[in-house]
Symmetry: D2
Subunit: 484 residues, 4 copies
């Protein structure tokens, strides 16, 4: 059953959400199987839908659907996707919202050959581009950014040959403002494209048999047995075909601004992004956090799963023992029956439970990666106190989040960001912590051993233009968004 009902159950400001992971492979007899395993490694980047497209001769075939990789694919249906080229995606729906028709990759039928797109990111000027395309005769069936890019590429009907094609893509990408890391696939090649700010990760790898792989995160390479080759560069289009790989740069602009939340929260700890391991980044941020904001306590605990590395860093640096004071059920799924309000009042807690025999009578340092709305932090502090913690010192391994993200991170609006509306002491009070400290922006950069992170959600310095309509301009003004 297909519906335009939004497939995701966007749980509001309870947390942060990344929107997508992409994976592609060129030149392997097991292309779709490897894509399946690659998507599985990227599953944390999107659990609302997934799909794989492969090329059998000139024909692009696909299977996609709502839900997890292991729900959509099975031994039988994966075998119907033959061919040596494939791309796939795991999806978290953001701006586009919409139904199953938005699940990617999306296949386009064209007289010059079918093609498919699998996209991670967010186009900032999407409405403007859509209006322009409609004025030229485009008619949209989805609300996905994919369809905008596809129409931009095909807008000039005189482009025909392979050389024209790369120019058509370059032209298109120069019209797109925003964050993206995406794959275009034809029956003969894959184009791997990354925006000129490098806001989203995209890496190239190679299998032992010589086939090329490209993925949002390097953890997918470990899983499929590929060797990391290099990152796709900001503003680069890597073409993969029987000639091997070739590089084109659609923009002379180069200002690397990798999303800092990838390191802090989204990426798997075993991924390396732009040469820096995510677990190592987090552990170092935990060490620095202790140096900036020590606490006199008995035990250090991390909020599972994304804060464990930082908590261990904090524990090692401080010498305070690291303990498993919070346990997260590994069986919680999207389809679980959520406890009703009255159940919750009775104390039913599905996801996270505090371990009384660990925290009772203890002064606890609780390390978390970030605070968005503050509701989750407040809930965990309360859990720990109910379990007997005498003090709860909250330490956040990133700066206060004060600005919304326009590049695909689902951080809602200014109103919802607790640190955009309250000062440190007020936030501490609201979450009922004994003490509260955030990591400084300087230390965050230090943890990454590099300067070029996008920290717009912390400091409001958005690397791209944000206006796409007058209405938006006034919106930004209202919220005093600083634009470069």
């Amino acid at each position: 059953m297909i519906s335009n009902k939004k497939i995701g159950t966007n749980n509001g400001g309870e947390g942060l959400h990344e929107e997508c992971g992409v994976f592609g492979i060129y030149g392997s007899p097991d292309a779709t199987n490897i894509t399946y395993y690659g998507l599985h490694a990227l599953q944390h980047r999107g659990q609302e839908g997934c799909g794989i497209v492969s090329a059998e001769g000139d024909r692009l075939q696909y299977i996609k659907g709502p839900g997890l990789v292991n729900g959509v694919f099975n031994e039988e249906n994966i075998q119907t996707l033959k061919g040596s080229i494939a791309i796939g995606q795991v999806l978290y729906t953001t701006a586009g919202g919409g139904g199953v028709e938005n699940i990617q990759p999306i296949v386009f039928r064209h007289s010059t050959g079918d093609f498919a797109i699998s996209y991670n990111g967010n186009i900032v000027n999407s409405r403007r581009l859509k209006k322009y395309l409609e004025s030229k005769g485009s008619l949209f069936l989805t609300t996905s950014d994919c369809e905008i890019i596809a129409n931009l590429i095909k807008k000039d009907v005189n482009h025909q040959g392979p050389q024209d094609r790369i120019h058509a893509i370059m032209d298109a990408l120069n019209m797109v403002e925003g964050a993206f890391a995406f794959l275009i696939m034809t029956s003969k090649r894959i184009y791997a494209c990354r925006d000129k700010h490098g806001l989203k990760p995209l890496s190239l790898g190679r299998m032992e048999d010589g086939s090329w792989v490209v993925a949002s995160e390097t953890c997918a390479f470990e899983v499929v047995g590929a060797e990391f080759v290099r990152d796709v560069e900001p503003g680069e289009i890597v073409t993969i075909d029987h000639h091997g790989i070739r590089s084109n740069h659609f923009s002379a602009f180069k200002h690397h601004k990798m999303c800092s939340m990838e390191y802090i929260y989204f990426a798997r700890p075993d991924s390396d992004i732009d040469g820096c391991n995510v677990h190592a980044f987090r552990k170092e941020s935990g060490r620095l956090l202790y140096r900036e904001a020590p606490a006199d306590a008995d035990i250090v605990i991390g909020v599972p799963d994304s804060s464990l590395s930082a908590a261990i860093g904090y524990a090692e640096e401080s010498g305070i023992p690291y303990e498993m004071g919070l346990v997260k059920s590994k069986y919680v799924a999207r389809t679980f029956i959520q406890p009703s309000q009255s159940m919750r009042e009775k104390g039913v807690r599905m996801k996270l439970s505090a371990v009384s025999s660990i925290v009772k009578g203890k002064r606890v340092v609780m390390v978390d990666d970030s605070i968005v709305r503050g509701t989750t932090s407040a809930r965990i502090v309360r859990l720990l106190k109910e379990a007997g913690a005498t003090e709860v010192h909250v330490r956040i391994a990133s700066p206060p989040m004060r600005h919304p993200c326009f590049y695909g991170v689902d951080t809602s609006t200014y109103e919802e960001l607790i640190s955009a509306n309250y000062n440190l002491e007020q936030v501490r009070e609201k979450i009922e912590a004994t003490s509260l400290a955030f990591l400084s922006a300087e230390s965050l950069m230090k943890a990454g051993r590099r300067q070029e992170l996008c920290m717009a959600c912390f400091d409001g310095n958005y690397p791209t233009d944000l206006y796409q309509t007058d209405e938006e301009e006034s919106l930004y003004k209202r919220y005093k968004i600083k634009v470069k």
Copy 2:
């Protein structure tokens, strides 16, 4: 799970297939529920997929999926489709083939307002139109004729107001060659359109509460409790909105040519098409068949289900008793495990069984509606003989089928049509009948009490142009297709 794998299991020349049924309703608080029941009444016109679109405010919502109406819809999901306007479709995939993306209605997102199309028929010049549209910047996501029509309507971006809209539709339809009866729905109105030859049925009805309904067959009116008002005329666009109904004719041409196979095979016996009841048509054709081709026999049997009316007509006219010599299981479904070849050789027969105690020792008249490949007829004759029939006189309630259909009836190619390749005696021999006779074209027309049937599959007189490419022209020449 969605895939571009063809959703239908086109069983080749074993029979004939109609492609679609459409249903729409304007102005009812129960719009989607009534559409559900309407589609259920039209289920015989397509079992491969179905969908409903409704309008809640300006927003078009839909649910669709592969399979039967009762598989795709349930109490819960139908309730999510609110609004007082809805259109729906049951689908049999033909030319377009393709996957779930082709299931209709298809919703199009446009800055001037979303709209949806639900289509029955076949566009003869589809490839030509597609090429033209691509040259103007259109990019296709489906292989459905729907998307061609939608792009044709939106091709001129200056059309904006409601008055422009009807002109845009009229312009579009004048570019389309072929058979169609379809619905366009916006958040405010429904347009019901029928091709200028009237090749496909489309009727208007009204509920007691004043809401308008439109359906491929009148049997849907009986089921939902609506009164038949009139047929949509060939070349007419009926606009249904809060003003009531208005009529526009996009073509001055008028030459009514209703598909004769609708009467002979497709339509439900309780439908009236262009004023003539289908059961009555069939029974009369059976009576005329006896007069043209009497048989000296003990019992008359019909091949269930579509030939029962003709068989009863034959029995009544002849005075030979009508018996239930063939029984069709009512539980055979698409998903059944088909008997293997070795099973079949052992005599396993899922769908149809001959009743020994009825036919044993009898001279049987077996009435069927048509012969396509001849394989089914041969199988049934053999069944009857194995069950003990001493003679099997085959009587067909339509003329020999000698030409393929280009208007949505899935009659394959010349090679597959037994009567295009063999004479009467040869066909009789091949199906091992004791005697064989077809109804004459004259009697068929007489049964319908009218002259204006499309009989192209019998006589090759196609009412429309057929050439859309040079390649096709040579194809037609090769097969000596007579074109008007």
Copy 3:
């Protein structure tokens, strides 16, 4: 998911329900596949659940579940049931009610070898037997009659050898009062058992390769390509194993009383029961009905599907033309969204619609097989009148139903039987018929060319004892049930 929630949606007094069909095969390499096709042919006898057990070596394996044969079984799972012996069942839940654990065949694990039972019928003294067995140490996991019979067979722990086994079965069956036709399967043989009154049908057939089949109805033989051999006799146990077939009679009593409703309503028209074809029976009953109760009318129509044969008989005998004035959707399924009351008032009718263009202005004879509560008849008469029939002469091809059935036919209670509470003229008024007539019991017997039908539901002459508890005795007295 399994639950003890009643799997059926017993729709009360709207109609009659048969409870089961059984099928077994001994000695075929395709045992489970053939059982699948056999069950498919018997699907009309029960749509609430089904199952197949096969023997691979000494091990009995099974697959079963709620729903239709084509929902429970598929290419994959049927292949996991290997072996050359199999039995299966289609289930309509009656007395036992209960959940999926009651779906048959039920497999029993015993140190002397596993066995399985597939049962059609109803044990009248079940509670008495259950109490007796519990007092001997039995503990029940289901509410199925199967488990009672299994415990009866195994109650004497000293029975060990094959000779003992047949005696154990004979002993058990002599304790059981009621109607039954069932199969016991071990890893080496099948026992086919029929109650001493022969209330339920059970027939033996043979495949071309020599394997034996046994089925509730002979239509299953046509479907699987088997030849009818003979009926299992009342009071007989047929043992099928590598020696061929052997016969034992567990009772000297012989008084053949086949359920008349099998002919009138339940059985497929292409089945022969105890040597009489069901369609022929029905057509003859229609002829006799005309002779007993002629009507001056324009057309004869039958209520689909079970009354069509009788209607054709009535039409042929009277010379009044038979028309398709009522059409039943062949796509109505158990899972359909039922029209709400308000929908029904608007005229939404899912299952049955009257064809206005056939019945308008006509005097109609409406032939039906039986009247239970009268509500269905009243609804159809109203349908026909709304469609324009000027007169509706109702002719019922069986006598008035005045007594409940205790042998597996779901006819509720005396209160619900319209003819138990009202006289002919009152019933006519209630169903708003122009005239009403029932077939006489004499003619019914004549139609069957035999005297030995159980007509308890018409005349209250129950062939078995009915008392199993004092409570029941008073119940019967209250309703003045005549007991032999």
Copy 4:
């Protein structure tokens, strides 16, 4: 669909498996909902099936099925289970094997009232008991130990009153040899029973509203918001009804022998078993392991998830930093497409991946909880070396496993236990570790701060009799099993 096909996919000697978790609640208006959340907290104890039984009046109702709690239950079906008493189970199938009929709780229908049983453990003398029961007239429908216990309880038909009932249970339990912790539920009370050695955990808790809960692990209390009250004692039957709780001891024997593998591997780290927190136990065992077997290395890593606590203990005691060198995908599910052999050779690894950027060039201490076959350890050591580890020092937080378990832990046979067949140096060579050390039995006991662990799998001292047949006796003799 139900089948007797084994529902589990027992993955052989790759690891250890616990068989079940039980949960019960008495006296809550939300009994089934709370049971659902309780089972969810116990999901790690069994993922092959689950079920809940509740009492509505005298009627026991149930829902059960294969798979996880969130697959079997949903908002709708859980609401159909009403009542204030409920028990539930998560299942890992062991000895009984078998199909869905073995999923617990199992409901028994008896004239003195229905009852249900939910069982964790293994009956050592099951075959002996079954033979005895069959000789008294019992007939089995499942291969579950539950049905044996139920029949034992009901074997004496003269037991009738509530007082008799507790005696019947006590009698039954005195016949059962083995490990068990189970719940019996009637429409009025719950009996919580634990074997006289206390081999399986079972704890009592209480909700704020006064309702009683009982669970295999205390982590379920945290999740449902209940307070821990006390453990059920070895040899105790706790009766919970409207009088509150009462205690009966069915055996004077008392020798506490809690399964050590519960602490080492099975239980959730946030559970307290017999007063000792599992995480704390494991962390302490890691500390002791370092003291017994230090290693000169750069980083400590744990094998996720069960070894993380021990690894952190090892790291803290040693001062060597703890790193996330192995990452386990949290999305791996039972239904995943497993990589083929050729895929695996290419390096595809679904579950566990080693993080090159963490381990490259490092001397690694790899802490694991236990070694069964050795194949997993060898695989992980290889993974780490391929990722660049220069040395891999394997440290196991339990003694070498040299004897099979007969109490529900799925440790196969002597042949499969690597430490039963090879000495320390040989094992080290086989798993290709740089060095290898196991924790001593003394330290293990010390970690638990108690003496009374069952360590039969390490030392062969089985607390119960093991002989149930002569055949088994010879088996044990062959393997030189030491029996008390």
